[in-house]
Symmetry: C2
């Protein structure tokens, strides 16, 4: 399941995506729209900024704004940033690979292969759908 962090990130991105014209939006405005804690959301927006999806401006009249085209923000990127691996096992994660502790041999591990298949199916959707697809339906 997606964490609240990730869901909040999608909400924020959606909100900023609807608000075109690169006008800045206050953290507080997004937080109160969705009933999210200001400070919690602050951390999330900061991560999105560091990842190059958002820009910000400090001081009076400041706030956040989308720095990319919605179509250039695949859903997988947001999930990986805030939730970590998409795969169901660390040993088949493309971005967060780790060997499984209990698993003696990946080559002969039956789970490994099936889970790699699951991962591919998930990515097939999550890499190809973007913020633009979400915006289009809201």
């Amino acid at each position: 399941m997606l964490s609240k962090k990730t869901k909040y990130a999608f909400h924020a991105l959606t909100y900023l995506g609807k608000n075109r014209e690169n006008k800045t939006v206050l953290i507080q405005e997004i937080a109160s729209t969705y009933g999210i804690s200001h400070k919690f959301l602050e951390n999330i927006l900061l991560e999105l900024k560091k990842a190059g999806m958002l820009g910000s401006k400090k001081g009076k009249g400041g706030g956040y704004y989308l720095i990319k085209q919605p179509k250039d923000i695949p859903l997988s990127k947001v999930i990986r940033l805030l939730d970590g691996p998409i795969a169901l096992l660390p040993c088949v994660s493309l971005n967060y690979y780790e060997p499984c502790e209990e698993c003696r041999c990946e080559v002969s591990c039956g789970l490994n292969r099936v889970m790699a298949q699951v991962r591919d199916e998930m990515l097939n959707v999550l890499e190809n759908k973007s913020l633009a697809d979400i915006l289009e339906k809201e």
Copy 2:
């Protein structure tokens, strides 16, 4: 990511699946094979039994054994039993549906639809692959 509980369940099922002939196997034997705590595994095997996948026998010479054909144990069943929902959002879960808290309207929720698609792709693998597919490759 799959929990340890689920991974341990797959290990145990695999072990029992290799050991054909309906001979009983001790919890302790499986636990020490994979380095799992005896008591922790005990709880897991009990759940698998209650879900109708395993049979057991008490007393001397007792233990656990597979009660179904490996092909009749889809991976999705094991995951749902021990980990809960497979979907990434509660509002698109087939077996554990709950409305999303922050989400005002599912019909217009852009995430909802994409995540339903992800769920379908995952299930397409997890419902159709079974313990038999894992055994075959080990």
